[in-house]
Symmetry: C2
Subunit: 219 residues, 2 copies
Amino acid sequence: MSDSPHRYDETARAAVYRVIRERRDVRSFLCTPVDPETLARILQCAHAAPSVGLSQPWRFLHITRLDLRHKIHALVQQERLRTADALGHRREEFLRLKVEGILDCAELLVVALAQGGTREIFGRRSLPEMDLASVACAIQNLWLAARAEGLGVGWVSMFDPLALADLLHCPEHVRPIAILCIGNVAQFDPAPRLALEQWRQPRPLGELLFENSWPEGAQ
Amino acid sequence: MSDSPHRYDETARAAVYRVIRERRDVRSFLCTPVDPETLARILQCAHAAPSVGLSQPWRFLHITRLDLRHKIHALVQQERLRTADALGHRREEFLRLKVEGILDCAELLVVALAQGGTREIFGRRSLPEMDLASVACAIQNLWLAARAEGLGVGWVSMFDPLALADLLHCPEHVRPIAILCIGNVAQFDPAPRLALEQWRQPRPLGELLFENSWPEGAQ
């Protein structure tokens, strides 16, 4: 079996595998600033993502006003308490976890999905949620590029999207789906925080990969 | 402004930016085989993705039976015609586009979302679609790793998810969201196919990036 002539050399392949392996969902940041050119570069990586029907449904709001940052933090705190209550017997354990770094991170982005509704049906007629998938691909691109730059990124999804849309004056078709905390970090964890904190243990790939059809009883 | 000590060296950063820039959504494949170890490696990259609450909601079905591949192709053809009809005046133009390479690609994967429902509320209580976002991040990881290996990947989302779930015996909580065509290619396009084919022109990042709040009239 011959290699593809389009295959990257060993050093470049190793860098790609490394960044995928070393990317972390970060909750603790240093207060040192981020170079604006680096922020611009990783945003261009988000924008280089695939999108269903080339719809580019991602929108980025760079939050530079401190009062807005505090209001966003307050929204997340509200949802954090609602989540804690909904978790029942794991409430106290959950409240001990650090779930966001909104006030500490150097840069704050809100990423929103601009919903095309039924105007955008290319690749979405039977799977309307593909627009959200495109925005997630964009965020993953940014996340990986940030890691290569030595920057941590945390995707916070604990907020009421309607309240955040209202705060940022988003029109009805725009749904915020991520608060991204971006900044320098003291360290990158060797494994996901939720695993290190014993919240949950990840499953191996072998349990999630099947041949041809779904095996009876698989979860 | 000092660089992060966690920043990759210039060669490694360049490889990460390169793979993000050169990844393409591929529809035309060569029939040459893909090394099983390479397939396993890029699947591990998908599995290294972030997931909301460490829920790992991705499931992979490796389609190795030729009869199944033909049935999946037929499902996509059905949805392609429904999409064409729904597109109205662009129907004929749409039908001239190549929208999938299911019968040509070396390897075929179906990626499904295992919906946790209300059992999985960490980071999802107010944004239930975050499980889908996690699966999209996993696919983006696989896509980038495949590009570094010189392999093309096409994400096909033109199918009835219930019909595909039925074909693959998926239980009710499992929703197929992607048919991934993976294989060797003659070339990687310099830009997205839909732009090259004049279906649609991409917008620059500047139109999609705002400061603090949504500008009046922005789309």
